[in-house]
Amino acid sequence: MRTLRYNQALCEALRQEMDRDERVFVLGEDIARHGGVYRVTEGLLERFGPERVIDTPISESGIVGLAVGAALLGMRPVVEIQFMDLITIAMDQIVNSAAKARFVHDGALHAPLVVRTMNLGKGTVYSSQELEAWFTHVPGLKVVMPSDPYDAKGLLISAIRDPDPVIFIEHKALYRIEGEVEEEAYTVPLGQAKLPREGDDVTVVAWSSMVGVAEAAADSLADEGIGVEVIDPRTLVPFDRERVVASVCKTGRLVIVHQAVRRGGFGAEVAAAVTESEAFGYLMAPIRRVANPGVPVPKSGALHPPALPGEADVIGAVRDVMAYG
């Protein structure tokens, strides 16, 4: 298989879906003439023309609302919101117009739109927030967070074909990573976790940019003789609960890693779900979360270490749960 970068894999997914299905169109700021700030929509304008590749004014709420209307009347819009912090403007349209359309129409209509956005991880205070947890709390929305180029393509195709509104969250730290990607269009089903590392001692659940960090930590810990099982759920809604629960039943220890703020983060949901499950009886140590400790992400790199979770934090947490009891 050839390799592609994460952003190229996404671009290929869009191109192939637009080739396949003329109802698919893309819209957002700087996505047409410029090809997207992260080049995910590069070349689409030239191929599909300005009717299907639309540069919009700065109107995040308006364009998501517009996409909902287009989806309800038979199109398959893919909106780009330039970074996650901006989605704060479009929450009404996502939560009220999109998420509830199928419900209020009792299935007679539905809103098959994809909102692509990205967590930037480290930007300014106003461009570093990771807000996936909000969307998981809203019935009607699916939430997808690919961690590598292969999944990026396959999950985006699944998201576009999915009949429900999908919040598709990319990550700036991943756009340049390369990986093998099939040329043909393919789907990665929503709701199936993958296990980039298997191990018997500790389960580490991580997603998006944190999967690589967890893998690196697992590799270091292997040298210490600690077997870490890394689970990448790939989609938070639907969530592959069974896979996580089975792993914790095996290892008896769980560490959850995300870059978002710990308090109220989706890690809490994973921890709570495991604690509610049959895995409870197997837990040998408290569940640990590695996450932003509750601060805005500051601009200065000097202030990053305590704010942003890294490999050392994961290693520390794994050692802690191993040492418990």
Partner: protein, 335 residues
């Protein structure tokens, strides 16, 4: 046939005028009766009465075709009637019974009837204006001749979504007609407190689309203005903002105390849209007192029958609440 001044639509026949009168009358009868039933505890909810504003929804929807779509505001009951929804259907929706269009999931003013070109609006005032633009864009992209009509109030025109939606519609040349029902109040806040302008139509200029003030009490004027705008949209000439000046004769919702000046209400009651058309029909010898009475009796009969039938319907199975959250059942989400 659309004239340059934005007046359009085919010539209305006697039958049309009588039917418009009937639709407005039905709306009035329905609302007044529902409010009584609500008071009596016979319905689990009231509604946002459109009494006084009937000409807007009837005039704007009359003349729309099967490919056209509308999104009513919380108060545009007339859009439902004019698009062919029955009183029984809306009563089912209000009761939330198993026969209702959403099988109890949502109520009448947020009901959608896709096969009659009605999209449900959300409860977020102004939120459906961009949705309407998207619907219009989809119609255009799919090569349909259809046009979208978006209803909202004066209050909604102060929402950011109004601004973004009208601007988007203009740049995308979406086939949409914005019908602002300016009834001079947003709940209890006078329009004059909510904005420092007289005519919301003036906002159109900021988007590069025509804006027109329309007499919202005159159903024929609303019809003609909407048809003019619909014609423009159908010909690919883009959106229009119509501001229909109107007034609700009743408070926002039954629980709200009436604090508007009595003389203001009185003044507007003199321009009752049903009476205005009724007088014309009478003067032109098209419908006399007797005809009106028979019409009202027919409506009342249908209404009484409908409530009986609606109340006789079973309620939905509680487990249905887990359906149509997603295509898959809720449990499939894993959490």
């Amino acid at each position: 046939m659309d004239r340059k001044d934005g007046i359009g639509g085919r010539e209305l026949t006697t039958k049309d005028l009588v039917e418009m009168y009937r639709l407005m009358l039905q709306s009035r009868c329905f609302t007044e009766q529902v409010l009584v039933w609500y008071e009596e505890g016979r319905l689990p909810q009231g509604l946002h009465p459109s009494v006084g504003q009937e000409a807007v929804g009837v005039g704007a929807c009359y003349g729309l075709g099967p490919d056209d779509w509308v999104i009513p505001s919380l108060r545009t009951a007339e859009a439902f009637w004019t698009r062919g929804v029955t009183m029984l259907e809306q009563l089912n929706a209000m009761l939330g019974n198993a026969a209702s269009v959403s099988r109890g999931k949502e109520t009448s003013h947020h009901a959608g009837y896709p096969e009659r070109g009605i999209l449900a609006g959300t409860g977020i005032v102004g939120g459906s204006i961009p949705v309407a633009v998207g619907g219009a864009l989809a119609l255009k992209m799919r090569g349909s001749e259809g046009v979208m009509v978006s209803f909202f109030g004066d209050g909604a025109s102060n929402r950011g979504d109004f601004h973004e939606a009208l601007n988007l519609a203009a740049v995308l040349e979406a086939p949409v007609v914005f019908v602002c029902e300016n009834n001079l109040y947003a709940q209890t806040v006078p329009a004059a407190v909510g904005m420092a302008i007289e005519d919301i139509a003036d906002r159109a200029m900021g988007y590069g689309m025509p804006g027109r003030v329309v007499d919202g009490q005159d159903v024929v004027a609303v019809y003609a203005a909407t048809q003019g705008a619909v014609g423009r949209a159908r010909r690919g000439e883009g959106p229009t903002l119509l501001e229909c000046k109107t007034y609700r004769f009743l408070p926002h919702y039954p629980i709200f105390e009436e604090k508007r000046p009595a003389e203001e209400i009185e003044r507007w009651r003199e321009r009752d849209p049903i009476e205005m058309l009724g007088r014309r029909l009478e003067e032109e010898g098209l419908l006399d007192e007797q005809g009106k009475l028979e019409m009202e009796e027919a409506i009342e009969a249908e209404l009484q029958e409908a409530i009986g039938e609606a109340e006789g319907m079973p309620m939905p199975d509680p487990q249905e609440v887990f359906e149509n959250v997603y295509r898959e059942p809720v449990e499939a989400m894993g959490l």
